[in-house]
Structures are given as C-alpha cells and as structure tokens.
Subunit: 214 residues, 2 copies
C-alpha cells in the first residue's frame, strides 16, 4: 500500500508517519521509484504499536526506539527478547536501598518468591524492574503501617500466575518472534488498564452477590 | 494517646495532624481539658488511611472528605457503603458517548457481563465508574486497531472474579463496617500496584519456564 492508504488504515496522519520514519520508529517502505514507497501489513502493525505506546502509554520517543530495538533483535533467545522489550518500557525507579522499609519489603518478597517456587523470578530479582515495583509497593504499605504477611499475598500471586498463563497462550497464537515481543509490550501498555477495570467490576459483582443492595 | 504519640506512631508530623483535624479528615480527639485531647487506635487507623490516599493515591483533600463521608455513613447497607466509598475516589472521566469506538466497546462489554452472568454489575453498568473504565480501555484498544473478541476476555474476567473473592475474604476479616469500607478504599489505592507487579513477575516466571534463557 502507499503512504496515503497506510495513513487511512492506521488513522495516523501522513505527516506523523513521515516523522516516525525519520525518527526510525518505522522501517522505510520498499522504494518503487524516487518519490514512491510501498508499505505492507507489517508497517501497519508496527505503526499501531508505536501509536499505542505514545497515546496510551505516554512512552517517550527515545524509549520507544529502545523497546523496538529489543523487539527486533533476532540474536536474542525468546525469553530474553520478551524480557528486554518489556523492561525497556518506563519502570518504577530504584528505591533507596538503605531505607528500613525497603529492606524489610525486599526480604519479605524474596521469601514470597521462594515459597511460590518461582525460581527464575527469584534469580532475576536483583535486576527485574517488576520485582522492584513489588518491593516499592510493599514498602509503601509497610511505611503506612500495613504489614501484609506473605501468606496473604500467596493466593493472589497464584492467581496472577494463571493470568500470566493466559497471556502466554494469547502470545503464542502470534506467529513471528517479533509479533510475540510486540504482544508482550502491548500487554503492559494496553491490557493492564483492562485487567484493573475487570478486577473492580468483579468486586462490585461479588459485593452485590454477597451483601445485596437492600 | 496524646497528639505527640499519635504523631510518633503514624510518622505524621503534629502540624500535619492538626491540619487534617481542621479540614475534618480526622475526628476530634476526646478533650481531657482545654489544652489536651486523647486519641485512640481508631484515630491512628484513620490517619494511616488519609496518608495512603494523599501520598500514594494522590487524592485531593476535598475528595478524601467525600470518600470518608461514605466510609462513615451508617445509614447505608453494606454493598452501597462499599460502592459509594470506592466510587468517590478519582475515576476515569466519562468518554464521548457519540464516538463510534466507545459505542462499540460499550455494547461488547455489556455482552461480556451478560455472558459472565454478572447480573448486578450489568444492572449498574450505566452508573459504575469501573464499567466506564473498562469501556474506555476497550475503546482505546479498538481505536488502535486491536479488536479483542469477548471470548478472549472471558477467562481473564473469571480469574479476576477469583481475585475479588480473595479481596472479600480479607475484608470480612475486619470487624466493623467502617473498617470494611476502609479496606475497600485501601484496595484501590494500595493493593492494585501490588497486583500489577505480581502479574508482571508471574509473566517473567512463566516466560522463563516455557522458553528458558538459553
């Protein structure tokens, strides 16, 4: 398809597409002659991903370039390629390692992973931004006087593991490795707000079922 | 306890506690004489909740007053009291009802609730901010070209229902109705970031288990 059709099908203006091309967020089209290039379905898919990161995820352009460099890195084995793509997204900043609540939360969360038998996550704890987010959230709870025991978190973690299995099955339905990595990125940017809304709706349903409105 | 001890145990300065008292975010202490008041465990608990809403939830003071007025409303039956407390928190704004993606998303999500048999949530759909968030997230996906079929969302929603059942059990372990409503508010402000982190960690564990790092 030509630039005009790519713009029409993606809902992104031709000026914006040209900007993404210049910034390297989108691979160049296949040059037919000096003034015309052809784009394919892969361009359309990538354009939607870039759009999602900018409009919904508010991800800076420089960060998007880094994310996409991992998405497209054929040299990485799948687990690292998926990990690197997601980890390159904006993440919770490193907390103060000397803070007593942070230290307490970190060892409690390491214990949680141990009890769960999540050995890979436990090994990656020192570098994983997801583990860092968990520590920061737990430290915030503790600083406010809410000390959730590990046992309270266990059943939540087990349900989240089932959610992750659904994510994997959905991801595996996509053929190419680059598409799989794209789906992992979309999961963070687009699917998490949906899960949160489903969770709150489920709470409303469960509240009404248990206690009624009378 | 006296003001100094309340400050010590909550980690909130006496000046800030006095400000919360003036703003009506905290009930007055039990006056012993003209210059001294006594505070109890309930004051401490409420102070932590206010602190969590301000520091973690970034909830404006006027909104906190509204949330607490529902938390403390003995005249409401439990389901309405919990609902009103959570709904008073900052929520997704109303989307443009004329937008074609919003209309499509709304009817797809009504269909989802019907298929799930979540009859209460379906009845409250027109007024629930949680349903609104789900519609907004779905419309964003569709506008970007990702049309998730209702069948893909069904197993996610069923798992989120199980998460909500855990929430309810945790909430029911708290004795008074006011405490239950407080727990519902804390769930939104403090527990959701934790669930999201657990979800991402579960993805990392599941990715490593399925594909390894080699």
């Amino acid at each position: 398809m030509r630039l005009a059709e790519l713009s029409e099908r993606s809902g992104v203006s031709t000026a914006t597409i040209k900007y993404y091309l210049r910034e390297g967020l989108l691979a160049p089209g296949h040059q037919i002659n000096t003034t015309t290039a052809e784009y394919d379905e892969e361009h359309l898919r990538r354009l939607r991903l870039v759009r999602a990161m900018i409009q919904v995820g508010r991800v800076p352009v420089a960060t998007i370039k880094e994310v996409l460099s991992h998405v497209d890195d054929d040299s990485l084995p799948r687990a690292l390629r998926l990990g690197a793509s997601v980890w390159a997204l904006p993440q919770t900043p490193e907390p103060d390692a000397d803070d007593e609540f942070v230290r307490g939360a970190r060892s409690a969360m390491e214990e949680l992973l141990g009890t769960l038998g999540w050995t890979h996550a436990r090994e990656m704890a020192a570098v994983s931004p997801s583990f860092r987010s968990l520590v920061v959230a737990t430290a915030a709870l503790r600083r406010l006087g809410y000390e959730w025991p590990v046992e309270t978190l266990l059943p939540y973690a087990r349900l989240m593991r089932q959610v992750a299995e659904l994510d994997m099955e959905f991801m595996e339905s996509h053929v190419s490795e680059a598409e799989k990595a794209e789906v992992a990125v979309l999961g963070v940017v687009l699917v998490e707000p949906m899960l949160r809304a489903l969770h709150r709706l489920a709470q409303e349903e469960e509240t009404a079922r248990r206690y009624g409105y009378a």
